[in-house]
């Protein structure tokens, strides 16, 4: 019995709906794939939830379920929120796509917002952010700041989202130094501080002096700080972990989008849409440019401005693949479809893409 109790206690702790009941308010539900304490992906989505509360006050009530694994569990969690009277549900991970659509069919009056997916319905919108724009900016900074001419890049998994980021980083770096090199290691995890730190140490031992990461914890940056190297924060502004080492960070900011979409439901103007916003939509923000000379910071700000105003697009041709094949013709912008399925490295990356 006691064992059952402690199991139940643990289950409640790790899978609890947090929030209070209230009538005639719009109930906004969130499904997170990780813990809100990850200081990365789910943390930033939760910041967006808090922004809704701050902006819309007593017109809304928010609830969330964290640590929902991608799969059948997700459907149950989403349905639970819908049954509990949520009028708007954000499901914030790619793997929630099919479960979200299934539940959306059963609850036609509930609005759904699914992050990073591509399937929509009358009551299901999708949204994502163009993080690669930020990666182009940090690529330029890395090329200007590196003394060895080589950056280290810690990847999570070789999926299009991450490969696109590496390519954008390299295109940015090559725009400054055509011979710039990058060493890539795969942590095969989104989130394992110890492993990420190990990867960072290995890269620094191999002679890189700037680190970029596409994994979620501040551990690599902390290693950079300790070793007197420099790097970039991921998802959140991580300057506290590396006051001397962080140059800037690519910050996921969902708050503007979340507040607008929630307002739209309140006004009755909500429609199913697909949003892929970047620096211009303020879904991607750059943390303050620190620990770099003023001219580097100014150049970075200029690039941000150019991307924001649409003057510069990171994936503008001519872009060559690793084997020299022309991927994007001169002056052409790579379309979103091709970017979403990107599975090739740009020229100048020596590593082999894991298949």
């Amino acid at each position: 019995m006691r064992k059952l109790l402690s199991m139940a206690a643990a289950a409640v702790l790790s899978f609890g709906v947090v929030g209070a009941e209230a009538a005639d308010k719009l109930k906004v539900g969130f499904i997170y794939v990780g813990p809100i304490g990850d200081y990365g992906w789910s943390y930033q989505h939760n910041q967006g939830r808090l922004a809704i509360e701050a902006a819309l006050g007593d017109k809304v009530e928010t609830v969330y379920i964290e640590n929902v694994s991608e799969g059948p569990d997700a459907e149950r969690a989403i349905e639970r929120l819908a049954r509990d009277g949520a009028g708007l549900i954000y499901s914030t991970s790619f793997g929630f796509m099919n479960p979200t659509l299934k539940v959306a069919k059963k609850f036609p009056n509930v609005k759904f917002e699914h992050a990073t997916g591509y399937k929509r319905a009358a009551n299901v919108s999708t949204y994502s952010a163009r993080f690669y724009e930020g990666r182009y900016v940090i690529g330029q900074i890395a090329a200007r700041m590196s003394k060895t001419g080589t950056a280290g890049y810690i990847g999570s998994f070789p999926i299009p989202e991450v490969i696109r980021g590496i390519n954008a980083f390299m295109l940015g770096a090559q725009s400054v130094d055509p011979d710039f090199k990058v060493k890539i290691v795969w942590a095969n995890s989104w989130y394992d501080p110890g492993k990420e730190a190990d990867a960072a140490k290995a890269l620094l031992d191999q002679g890189v002096d700037v680190l970029a990461q596409h994994t979620d914890s501040p551990a690599p940056l902390q290693v950079a700080e300790e070793r007197g190297a420099i790097g970039f924060g991921q998802a959140s502004d991580m300057i506290k972990f590396a006051p001397k080492g962080q140059l800037t960070a690519i910050v996921d900011d969902w708050s503007v989008y979340y507040v607008n979409r929630t307002k739209a439901v309140l006004d009755g103007t909500w429609e199913s849409t697909d949003t892929w916003g970047g620096l211009d939509a303020e879904m991607v923000l750059m943390a303050p440019f620190t620990n770099m000379p003023e001219d580097v910071a100014n150049a970075a700000k200029e690039t941000v401005e150019k991307i924001r105003s649409g003057k510069l697009h990171p994936f503008t041709g001519p872009i060559y693949k690793q084997n020299g094949e022309l991927a994007v013709a001169d002056g052409i912008l790579l379309d979103d479809q091709a970017m979403l399925g990107m599975n090739w490295y740009v020229k100048g990356i020596d590593d082999q893409l894991p298949q």
């Binding site: 006691r2 064992k3 402690s6 199991m7 206690a9 643990a10 289950a11 409640v12 702790l13 790790s14 990780g34 813990p35 809100i36 304490g37 990850d38 200081y39 990365g40 943390y43 280290g152 060493k183 890539i184 290691v185 795969w186 095969n188 995890s189 989130y191 394992d192 501080p193 110890g194 492993k195 990420e196 730190a197 190990d198 990867a199 140490k201 290995a202 890269l203 031992d205 191999q206 890189v208 914890s217 501040p218 551990a219 902390q222 959140s236 506290k240 972990f241 020596d350 590593d351 082999q352 894991p354």
Partner: protein, 306 residues
């Protein structure tokens, strides 16, 4: 800093939490108890270690808090399995779930705060020696403690009466009981020792490995520690070798990747586990060896006089 030297330093850092957690579990299993809650005790150790260090400003007090936290959960486990004779496997799994949830709750306030690092020792004259200086004399206290624990456990288990009693309880609790040994008390001590070690291992993560708190930061290391105990066939010195092997494979795979060696990274990530399976196959072929080293009463509840 030379290349090899810093690789060795990194390997030591990666191996130490595994070694700490595994050496504790080895004693627990030698006494015949299977505690699958190592991951849970570790993570609670990590969060309370971090909290203790933040509150007092001392990483050493943090390490003590981590130790205490592990023991606290171990006490709960002991009470459930030894006193109430609950199923050890189920209780251990519940302990992991409980620990993960509890740590997330306690740690909410600490997310996004840089931690206090456990300082590395600096022995004048020795720590600055080329190569061997930083490797041998420049580690933090927990690294030395983990090595001392291996030596200590090895000595106590195989060279002292206390060790004989622990092994007797693990191999045949009925006979040990008949000889007047308090099986429950011995097992309580072993379980608490295991909890203290697991807590310290967690503390090592949040105080030395990556001085920060983020939820789920143990990332399965408790399970690797459990695998290591089996890998070592319950022998402390083999455990030491195993922990460093696991650590080294983990680090070298990153070097291989960064150095452009064309081995799939997924394969390298899986390598320590493949090694465990291979060792399991090898040891289970040698029946005598298995019988000598495996605690015969592992996982069996003990109820006196029934």
């Amino acid at each position: 800093m030379g290349g090899y030297e810093s690789i060795i330093l990194t390997v030591i850092t990666a191996a130490t939490p595994l070694l700490l957690a595994a050496i504790g579990e080895l004693v627990v299993e030698r006494s015949g108890v299977l505690n699958l809650g190592v991951e849970g005790m570790m993570i609670v150790g990590a969060v309370l270690g971090f909290a203790g260090a933040q509150a007092t400003g001392s990483a050493y007090i943090g390490a003590l808090c981590a130790l205490g936290a592990g023991m606290g959960l171990a006490l709960l486990f002991g009470f459930l399995t030894l006193h109430l004779v609950a199923n050890q496997v189920a209780t251990g799994l519940a302990l992991t779930l409980l620990g993960l949830g509890l740590a997330g709750m306690i740690g909410e306030a600490f997310v996004g705060q840089p931690g206090i690092r456990l300082e590395r020792l600096h022995i004048p004259g020795l720590s600055t020696l080329p190569f061997i200086g930083p490797v041998l004399f420049g580690q933090d206290l927990l690294v030395y403690l983990s090595l001392a624990l291996v030596a200590g456990v090895s000595f106590v288990l195989f060279r002292t009466r206390a060790g004989l009693i622990i092994r007797a309880v693990g191999d045949n609790h009925g006979s040990a009981h008949a000889l007047g040994v308090s099986v429950i008390r011995v097992r309580y001590f072993a379980v608490l020792f295991g909890g203290a070690c697991a807590g310290l291992a967690g503390g090592y993560l949040s105080l030395a490995y990556t001085p920060q708190w983020v939820e789920g930061m143990t990332a399965g290391r408790g399970w690797i520690a459990l695998a290591l105990v089996v890998f070592s066939t319950w022998r402390p010195l083999r455990l030491l070798a195993g922990a460093y092997l696991f650590g080294a494979v983990g680090i070298l795979q990153f070097h291989a990747q960064a150095g452009g060696v064309a081995i799939p990274s997924q394969f390298l990530t899986a390598l320590p586990y493949l090694a465990t399976i291979v060792v399991l196959v090898i040891i289970s072929r040698n029946r005598v060896l298995t019988r000598i080293n495996t605690p015969a009463c592992l996982g069996q509840p003990f109820v006196p006089d029934r």
